[in-house]
Symmetry: C2
Subunit: 467 residues, 2 copies
């Protein structure tokens, strides 16, 4: 023991850095291990977590859930009107992003999108009348997620809107998502001016039938190989879909020009798709929803199967806790803002698009999309670090979705609420940012995280179910 | 001095590693500096090189050459028949890849491509007659590079073939390249069966007019932003052109469907382009040729303006030495071979496509295309290392062509023969590999290097010109 003190100090310091700093100041060598108490030091949560860790029931359920997620084969099957294809879609029902929220509580962009959708449906003659109707009891609001659907940003899906139909050929479940309108002044961001409504009308009347006819002739498109290819081309298929949108167009166009639809309509459709680098986003989201629904409802599983925001609350769902939502206030995003805007103008985090991160894409696959840091902020090294960090809170790697720059390792997928609460590492999310007022639209993009409170609640609920 | 020997040995070892190994074995710390004598130890070359290093005349000429290369703006202008648009194209002239070579010396795939081209032109009725004609004095053979043109692999360009016309809007020079036929059994790889010839006939009769009509309506396409975008999407635009080909199609199709060409012809053209991930290669090559010709003929400049192989010899041209070729035997490529083939079956290195590396793309930009190692071999770390290594032998970075994964640094460009001969680092090249016999086609792909002998000869010639 005496000999030890004659040697130079070599110390491993766990947790609070200040202890290590003292040693370093005195000339010792310090290896700092990052650690913080599980559940952010909350004793109750820590105890529930301890019950779940290494529990065979949870481990087995997670294996089943993760296996189903990996085995899912999302196929882009067709396009149809929401009211015709989405299960339990009511006549005067409007679906929205995130966990349940009432009209009174909704954020500006969601209200803007809903009044726009009411105009699109022809339920009101102007925005004032639409707002009045929206606030009445005549409209039913439900989350997309309650209907096997997802929607970016406000996520507003009204009965006449065309939606992508993605089927999981392995397990037979389907998932739905609206069609992408482009960037800027668009309904999903809360804009509802006449040009926005006109574009949506054209999408329903012209674009959707062309896409349906093309997909019918193609007999569907396998989405996993397309997403895998896009990952090799610098997309993370959440905020960067440039490659995937091109790959999709390349598959659609040769068939599209052979349909018997008038050429000027085809030309307009091609121009629209070719001009929208985010066109694939909504397909990516539906594919992720289809893969994750296959992993949902495994009793005992601690795997997250949905992360979604309604602009007020951030909510998650977990495979082993059924249809419960675990919510916390949605954060504002400290991202890159378009000129003239700042975080002061931002709505809190919004949209179902975090379904991509839940499936191991988006922020989780950011290493493969270094070019995205010009859009969402941060450095290229950050992008690598996010992907590496997410391997600490996930059940495994999805080798069908490999990241060349990480030596072709699979993307980290299957968020385990136990690992997240234990390490204090919250899931990372790339996201667009909408203006907090209705009618304006997108004002930036950035990187945010799921609130730890959602994951901690889920740990408690799962532990309570199992004991 | 005595004190020094009491301390632990800490040694910097330059050159031969064996000296350092002795120190390391005795417990000392060794920092190994890689170094070898300039000109591979050849005293004559070393002396010539010494004359050129830091010579103001060379430095200034290089600044001019590199500035021109950076300032060049290649525009995809149109498509036309070789005989109508390529300067000084003779009536019975066939252009080929690499430095000059006679029919007697040509490798198998080049002979195969030439006899195929003779059939295409209708100068002979079968392959035997074509071979006889090819060996007679009736056909003139000249390098593409003598006509502001380039061609991949055998590079065979005959009078009726359609070629891309790329103009450099900054300096007014033009460059030309044939249209890409796809992979596998293709003329450029030496195949010449009836299906190969039929495809070429269709390309001249149907495809070329559609492309011309589309480009006319577009008023040309700026290629540098398109290449820059493709680099952000994992292409190095030599052996990987998946993104660039998609981006091109996305620009062409919306206009193509508006031309008054019959829809079934357009459908066939779209299908052909959409099915060929290498379609952009020949455009990339013409763009590089246009940029490098702008840097050519700067008296005193040691910048390489062409690297090209004819399957027998590897040749380079240097800005300050005019139209001289500096040649050495073309190496065989130790790459990844298709099943059933090996290096025994390979023709030596072939094609003008190393013009992409000469312009800082291809192997020089490999860091941005990690997925390519599955095609050309090596590891992802190798891909990064090649790009970093090439910064040691180049005049600068091309910031218009940035590599996200290298923190958005520009790609290393402007090979300086002095730096290459001084460091012993030869330019890296990604390449396809053809079978050594005529008529077979591609059998693999790999990574190779320019022979140092070419660069050393150029150093001697430039030094002799300047003294």
């Amino acid at each position: 023991m005496k000999d030890l003190f004659k040697e130079d100090l070599q110390v491993i310091n766990v947790g609070l850095t200040s202890f290590g700093e003292v040693v370093a100041r005195e000339g010792g060598t310090v290896l700092q291990i990052e650690w913080s108490p599980p559940g952010q030091g909350n004793r109750e949560i820590g105890k529930k977590l301890a019950k779940l860790v290494n529990l065979p029931e949870v481990e087995k359920a997670n294996q089943r859930a993760f296996k189903n997620y990996l085995a899912a084969q999302p196929i882009l099957e067709s396009v149809g009107a929401a009211k015709a294809v989405i299960p339990n879609m009511g006549e005067r029902m409007i679906l929205h992003a995130g966990p349940p929220v009432s009209w009174e509580e909704m954020c500006g962009p969601m209200r803007g999108a809903i009044t726009g959708a009411i105009l699109l449906e022809g339920w009101a003659k102007d925005l004032d009348e639409a707002s009045e109707l929206a606030a009445s009891n005549e409209i039913t609001y439900e989350p997309n997620h309650h209907h096997a659907a997802v929607g970016p940003m406000s996520g507003v899906t009204s009965p006449s809107m065309p939606v992508w139909i993605v089927s999981n050929s392995t397990h037979g479940n389907k998932a739905f998502c609206s069609l992408n309108e482009g960037l800027g002044k668009v309904l999903r961001m809360g804009a509802n001016s006449p040009d926005v409504i006109d574009r949506l009308k054209w999408m329903g009347k012209d674009l959707a039938p062309i896409l349906k006819s093309t997909l019918d002739r193609l007999g569907g498109l396998e989405l996993k190989p397309m997403i895998a290819q896009a990952l090799q081309m610098g997309d993370e298929v959440h905020n960067r879909n440039a490659a995937a949108s091109s790959l999709l167009l390349k598959r659609l166009v040769p068939v599209m020009v052979k349909t018997d639809i008038p050429l000027d309509q085809i030309a307009a459709a091609v121009e629209f798709i070719a001009g929208n680098d985010h066109f694939f986003l909504n397909i990516s989201m539906a594919a992720c929803k289809a893969m994750l629904d296959a992993a949902h409802n495994q009793p005992g599983s601690s795997m997250v199967t949905a992360m979604a925001r309604n602009g007020v609350e951030f909510g998650i769902r977990v495979s082993g806790t059924g249809d419960s939502w675990f919510t916390a206030p949605a954060p504002k995003v400290n991202g890159l803002y378009f000129p003239g805007y700042s975080i002061e103008d931002a709505a809190p985090d919004l949209g179902d698009s975090a379904i991509t991160e839940t499936a191991g894409l988006g922020g989780f696959a950011m290493a493969t999309a270094p070019a995205i840091v010009k859009f969402v902020g941060g450095s290229v090294q950050d992008a690598f670090a996010y992907t590496r960090e997410m391997t600490q809170i996930t059940l495994g790697l999805n080798n069908a979705l490999s990241l060349p720059v990480m030596d072709f390792s699979g993307t980290p997928a299957g968020i385990d609420i136990r690992k997240s609460v234990d390490t204090g590492i919250a899931p990372i999310i790339n996201t667009g940012i909408a203006h907090h007022k209705a009618g304006i639209g997108q004002i930036g993009a950035g990187i945010t995280r799921a609130p730890m409170a959602c994951l901690a609640q889920a740990v408690v609920a799962l532990a309570d179910r199992l004991h």
